[in-house]
């Protein structure tokens, strides 16, 4: 009989949901009661809405349990491991049962995330057991040339997953063709888009996949050094990267004459960011590695000609690198078999906002937004109405309900005015105000602007002021036009992608939800009932009991009425704070 395996999900989200407690409880049971099974840990399988997760693998198959706490942990060890009867009601996924979460897995194709949730990310053996470092070994043993590797990557159709979507193979070829004594390969792990956490999960769940991808890129372009630029907000990712790098050095995947390839010397180190979004932009990132302010620089020269320390540099995103070993092992055609004509392969998306199943999914390009949100994502929380989805974070735009059947590929998404971006999908329902949403993204970019370009620095501030006014019932006729004009100039006169794309959320919301802007400005109303200053509060006479709670809690003392008598709100002093509404126990306050 094979020994049963019990695996606890300990990515950041698993830990935050109480995964460590579950792990310790199971460990304690194992030791105290001397139960025979293997206890291991893994990272997130993307099913973040069911953390903590525990997987039990026995002779009959694999069973994934969700929403496990210490009590349920005792029960499943007792029932499933000891008495061999799976506890059906806690199972969220298994090939042997149908479960209510099955849709979450249907339609997913895991290439970049192939190991996430299946291996212990701190154990090199487990990575190797699933084809880990096979790509690199093939290159060494079969003597695959630099040019062949690059051709493979080109043929796969892989495009940069960091947002730009530039063909990865082409970028490598530029770097290979740049002659220099030193060259660098950089992994961009500065993920900062609001709504995105794909790279964090990948780094926490499968750091070796990213490292192997980097080593292959380094070999292909002839790099002599490597840097992973990881944002400081991701401490667990940084720890696991450092552990993985040390293992790779010991195993000879990093060092000199790697795997016997004479003259292939490489080491990689982790550079920790310090909380500046713009450092995700490649030229700013390199300035930051050099110890300077992270300000973007003019391109050309492109990094492939003169990058880090002025040397040819190839920079790719975390997810881009994670795809590489798979492509080398399985061949470019296998990768290109997924996706559409111009957008090959798969893409990882982070589902957040008003969606039922918040988490990570990897889907083939060309799948529609509807499929992702309603099939995999389970639809909208509380079964409210879908309104729009923001794709591409602060650089992207919103896609409204009538375009929900748009296929997710670079060209179709661009045609809507949004961008594919790095993969954040923020889902909005009928209660989300689109003007407020645009204001949020602009508040973000305005704060993160490095200040180098006047239009980005001051233009975004002026746009933010206008949007704030509109949300505060102070909008004026002509504001929309002013926003559009500012947007045009900011896009036109900014050096880097931050400024060039900052107005996108505003422009797409104006394009698709102009009537909402107009309602704010002309009628001083917020159709989504979200902007407090635009709401009117009124006592409903039939419901009011005269309990005086609203009057007592009103911070500006504008509610009149004696005890046990009908109350009313004097509108001229009302600050629209909403306290009366939330304090009333009799639903006697109407908001409109």
């Amino acid at each position: 009989m094979e020994t049963t395996k019990v695996i606890v999900g300990l990515g950041s989200c698993g830990i935050a949901a109480g995964g460590n407690k579950v792990y310790n409880k199971i460990k304690e049971m194992k030791e105290l009661e001397n139960i025979d099974f293997i206890l291991d840990k893994t990272s997130c399988v993307g099913m973040c809405f069911r953390e903590p997760l525990v997987e039990i693998i026995d002779e009959t198959g694999a069973y994934l349990y969700g929403d496990i706490d210490e009590k349920k942990a005792i029960e499943i060890i007792d029932q499933h491991v000891q008495k061999l009867t799976p506890v059906k009601e806690y199972i969220v996924h298994s090939d042997l049962y149908e479960t209510r979460d099955d849709n979450f897995f249907k339609g997913q194709v895991k290439i970049a995330l192939r190991d996430c949730g299946f291996i212990n990310p701190e154990n090199l053996d487990e990575y190797e057991a699933r084809n880990g470092y096979v790509a690199l070994k093939n290159i060494a043993e079969k003597g695959i040339s630099q040019e062949d590797i690059i051709q493979n990557v080109l043929d796969s159709g892989l495009r940069g997953r960091g947002g730009g979507g530039f063909p990865t193979g082409l970028k490598w070829r530029f770097a290979l063709n740049s002659e220099a004594d030193e060259k660098y390969v950089i992994c961009n792990a500065d993920e900062g888009d609001p709504g995105a956490f794909m790279d964090r999960s990948l780094l926490e769940g499968d750091p070796h996949a990213v490292i192997e991808g980097m080593i292959i890129a380094a070999f292909a372009i002839g790099a002599t050094g490597g840097v992973i630029y990881c944002r400081a907000e991701y401490p667990l990712a940084i720890d696991r990267l450092n552990i993985a790098l040390e293992q790779a050095r010991k195993a000879g995947y990093l060092g000199s004459d790697i795997l016997g390839i004479t003259g292939f010397n490489l080491d990689i180190y982790v550079k920790e960011g310090a909380g500046a979004f713009v450092c995700g932009e490649e030229t700013a990132l390199m300035a930051s590695v050099e110890g300077k302010r992270g300000m973007p620089n003019k391109r050309p020269p492109f990094p492939a000609e003169a990058g880090l320390w002025g040397k040819p540099t190839n920079i790719n995103n975390v997810e881009t690198f994670a795809n590489i070993p798979w492509i080398i092992v399985n061949g470019p055609d296998a990768y290109a078999a997924y996706g559409t004509e111009k957008s090959k392969g798969t893409k990882v998306f982070a589902l957040t906002g008003k969606i039922k199943n918040g988490g990570l999914v990897e889907v083939p390009m060309g799948i529609t937004i509807r499929e992702v949100i309603f099939n995999l994502g389970g639809g909208i929380q509380d079964d409210k109405r879908f309104k729009a989805v923001q794709l591409g974070g602060p650089s992207g735009g919103c896609i409204p309900e009538h375009l929900i059947d748009t296929p997710i590929d670079y060209d179709s998404v661009n045609a809507t005015g949004a961008i594919m971006g790095s993969g954040g999908m923020v889902v909005m329902d009928e209660t989300t105000c689109m003007v407020d949403m645009a204001r949020f993204f602009l508040d973000f970019t305005q704060k993160e602007s490095c200040g180098k370009c006047t239009f980005c620095r001051i233009g975004t501030k002026r746009m933010l002021e206008i949007l704030t006014r509109i949300c505060n019932a102070e909008g004026e006729e002509g504001d929309i036009e002013k926003l559009e004009e500012l947007a045009y100039h900011i896009k036109d006169a900014s050096l880097c992608g931050l400024g060039q794309t900052a107005p996108n959320p505003v422009l797409t919301t104006i394009r698709y939800f102009r009537d909402e802007y107009e309602a704010h400005i002309r009628d001083k109303k917020c159709p989504a009932k979200s902007c407090k200053k635009l709401l009117t509060y009124e006592v409903i006479p039939e419901m009011c009991t005269g309990c005086t709670v609203c009057a007592k809690n009103c911070p500006v003392d504008t509610i009149r009425g004696a005890r046990k008598e009908l109350h009313f709100i004097e509108q001229d002093k009302c600050t629209h704070c909403g306290v009366c509404f939330s304090k009333c126990k009799f639903d006697a306050i109407r908001v409109y």
Partner: protein, 154 residues
């Protein structure tokens, strides 16, 4: 009190004295004492043979390299879109009330600083806050206050 000279000395042993060592050295100081004083930055400038304006210019660019005195625990509440949709305003209000300070301020006893941050990468589990290096997702106003209370008693 943290011995900044020693921190700088230790960091130099690992990172050297080239320009690229600047950020790791500043990060090492912040790790220990949560912010960089003018004196600290001057010391670093001397060791790396840079002007202190260069050091200040670099430090002030990065949110996590604080140049203002911070409390023992720096609380950063994410203020961007997903956390907003999940109710971060109520969390911040509750924290302000409990700590008797406004966002951006430090308590008189220098124990807590309350800040807002741009996206912490926990969008599916908002609202979220960091207390120094520790992440606390899926907050409610009550949960946030309990976490602070627990730190008060540490």
């Amino acid at each position: 009190m943290a011995d900044v000279q020693k921190i700088i000395g230790d960091a130099v042993k690992v990172h050297g004295t080239e320009r690229k060592a600047l950020m790791p050295i500043l990060q090492a100081i912040v790790q220990e004492k949560n912010y960089l004083s003018d004196e600290d930055m001057i010391s670093v400038a001397n060791v790396l043979d840079l002007s202190s304006a260069e050091v200040f210019g670099t430090a002030s660019f990065y949110t996590f390299l604080d140049t203002e005195e911070r409390g023992e625990y720096v609380v950063r509440v994410c203020k961007t879109i997903s956390c907003h949709m999940a109710g971060k305003d109520e969390v911040i209000n509750a924290l302000e009330k409990n700590l008797k300070i406004k966002a951006g301020e430090t308590t008189v006893d220098k124990k807590f600083t309350l800040l807002t941050a741009n996206c912490l990468g926990w969008c599916h589990k908002g609202p979220v806050m960091l207390v120094n290096d520790e992440v606390y997702p899926e907050l409610t106003p009550q949960k946030a206050v309990e976490i602070i209370q627990e730190h008060k008693n540490r």
